[in-house]
Amino acid sequence: EPQRTAFLLRKQWTLYSVTPLYRFSPARLRDYASLLSAFIAAEKQKGLAVEVGVELDIKVAVSSLPDLKGSDQDQAGILVQLSLRSQASKKNSEEKMVWSGWFCCVFGDDLSKNVPEDFTCLPLFLANGAESYTSIVGSWFQKTFDCRFRRLAISPLSLSWMAAMWTGCKVDKTTSAMELVFSVPSLPYPLDISYAIHPEDAKALWDTVQKTPGEITQEEVDVFMDCLYSHFHRHFKIHLSATKLVKVSTAIASAHCDGIIKFLQSQYLTGVLMLLTELAISQIQ
């Protein structure tokens, strides 16, 4: 099971929220793939090839990701992959994947319980690859299923939740430090502060803060962050609480406030997706 989702790890995914899709049928994925490839070919012919290559042939694959769901009420994930077939050798061609995107819904009951049968709830969309492909695929979905994509930004508040939650997760080998990146406002030149913490120290701190295992409250997150801030202040005399938290990286995953995520551990994939699904749903409703 972790093998099937291994390809999702260690890639940078751009996040979108998607409103429910109308008359989407998980049984017709092949049809959708052929429709989408016809659409892409038509768009390319309209002459936007600023990219010269030996391509002119994009293969579309739409498949299901049955492991990517939370509860049974959730719709299984849908994966769309665009690959280039090199023109030189049509048969036995090496297909290089140029873009992939997937829809998923992990514990999205808040949304799915309120929509009628015709609608499929897949509120989270993640894309990796050129923006031009994302726009073509997204436009096709918008036109065909009357849904609406929106970039999903992650607020500093949510990022601090992620920092706290992910620090508490047990990881086998802790290779990477926990890193927080802050951007300083109102300066004539851009300034980013990167704060790296040894993962074991961070976990130790979190363990003292968290009272009930498996439950996290806002107060606990605040205390955790305040401890980190005051430690930094003691050394550098800078109040990080006045800056904007823009990126959080832990051994589990890393998240950027512009809505970019990277998964690093497959065992916690569902947990992170659950959080992201919640954020996507709050942007839709």
């Binding site: 017709r28 002459g47 010269v52 290559g53 009357d146």
Partner: protein, 698 residues
Amino acid sequence: KQPLQVHHKHQTDLSAWRKGGRIDPEKSVQNHQSPKDQKNSSKQDSLEEALSYFEKVQDRVSLKKNSVLQKHLTAVESVASQRGLPPEGFDVLLNVALSGKLADTVNTRLLKSLIPASVIPEDSVVSSVSWLCVSKCSGNIQLLFLKWLITVFDFIDHKEQIHALYGFFFSFLQDEKMCPYVCHLLYLLTRKESVKPFRIRKLLDLQAKMGVQPHLQALLSLYKLFCPELVTITLPGKMKAYFKNSEGPWKAAINAVRQRNQENSPVPQPLFVGTAQPQSRKRKWNSQLIIPASSKTKNNLEEDREKNHVDLYSTNESFPVEQLQTFSQLLQNIHRLEFPSQMGSVLTNPLLLHYMNCIKDESVSLRLYYWMGQTLQEECTWCVANSYQYEEEFKDFLENVYKAECFLQEGFSSCEEFLYKSLPLWDGFCCRSQVLRLVSWIPLSNFSEMKSQLYDPLAQLFFTSSLYFKCSVLESLKELLQNWLNWHVSHLDSESDSEVRFLNTTLSGLVNVVAELIHFVGWISTVGLRLENNSTLMLYFILDFYETVCDIYLKYNLPLLIMPPAGVFYPALLSMDSVSLNQLCYIMYRYRTNLVAAKENELSKKKILQYKFSSQTYQEYNQYIIAMVGCLWTSSAFQKDTHPQGLRMDDELLKKTRVQEFKTSFNIVYHPAMMGYAVLFLQQAWPDDTTFNFSLIK
């Protein structure tokens, strides 16, 4: 330098003396023509003027000193950004910009405003290339021209002659600064016949001189694609981007013009095929404010194949939405019309709105709900940072939503939610009239957070804004009340659950919601009148509101009778103008009619009433009417009033004002508001008497 024959016109032209300084002969010519021009001051004429000016302009006209030049330049820029320039305009403007006659600042602005409304004639491009060869203009202008040409390439109507100029363009590769842009242009122009060995050699030479450059590689790769046998060097397989994105300021403007033109056309047009490039970075791919209606694609979907199979005997093909142009077509095809693939397109299509009104389908309204909700939130210019430059587009979008609501005579719930979310952040300035009009369509419901989400933000803005904003808010709240009352009346008879979310409330809930609104308006009116010093304009809007309120019982069949607050009644009674006084009298009269009817219904016990109006309402009315009668008729203005905030004052206090006849000072004859009428009466009755003896009027 100036032609001499114009000189004598200076003497006869008075404006020349007023302006002083150097007189531009062009300007005096313009002044001569001005009476005629002012009559048709439409934009088209100003554009034509500007074009003829540019055609004739001599060199070295400085922008700073010449207001005529400025005026024409601004005219060109504004027409370009509104509708785009017509094909005829390009020749003139390109010639001026590239001939180096005027300063670079002017040339840059001209080039930047070259937005096509439809097509660009090939001849203008060809002649501008010849200017380029002569190099009369500066290097920067040449670069800007190339960037422009690349951006609008698809708009040029024919390209045969431009292809013939391939060699000319090729020769520009020598210039190091122009090289990347020329490569991009050649990339667009290259066809198989353009690939010649000497050109390949030239490119390789350039590469040897300048080093490996992505733009040169691009052109070489394209050559290799066409003629692989001629290009023998190895080239990297693929590169992400060969050319820097040189879209410049035109892309966004072209898209804006296109959208505006689409809007103005009565039938939604398909997307402009000429610029089928992905939307510029500024306009995101996922967010289109205006969507053309298109039917769902039905090819290759098994489900539909089956459906068509079954219906083979009945010609039950659905009518494609794109062909729906007239109302009669809608009527004829209503049984086989399907909604478009994207519900957002109904906003600008009245026929589809009609159709939506007939078919009460939950999926349909949910699709529209999601699309509208997301679009409103994403494009809201005061909620999203750095999007204030899209205010015009958002304003138009809000306008469309409002028009659709007026058409359907009900509000959209996504719009309502948007207002609740965005009003607390609103500055009261951005898209003001659109937002206030949308407020008037908020549906009637038992929304418990109405106070904090709607009334509090509105109150905050109301108290801190100008008189006109206050009046706009009052007007919009009056319309809100009317929409609620109309909705109530239209749903009184229908027992259906079509309006699902409201049916849970009882009549008393409804009454409470309406009462809350009326009390809110009463409160802000009282404070507002004090802030604006009993302004007549404001009083007009307030009394207009109460004109609706006083008749609720009889006209809208809702058991609600609320008196205006003292802070509204007394300023109106004692106001300085007759309009307010008249309105107040009418309102009091209507109140009486309503109260009497209510009392009769109560007493007659014809029907079992849920509501008995408390005696307090009657008491309040009586107090007001006593005060009014005391003022206007019985000349006992300050004595009879029992209202706690009323006019009752002791005689000693009144004597201190040293007004002689204070008791009669507010009756019909002597009331300051009625002064005009009293005078008129005296004039008509005793036309010769010039002293205004008001005691003659009894």
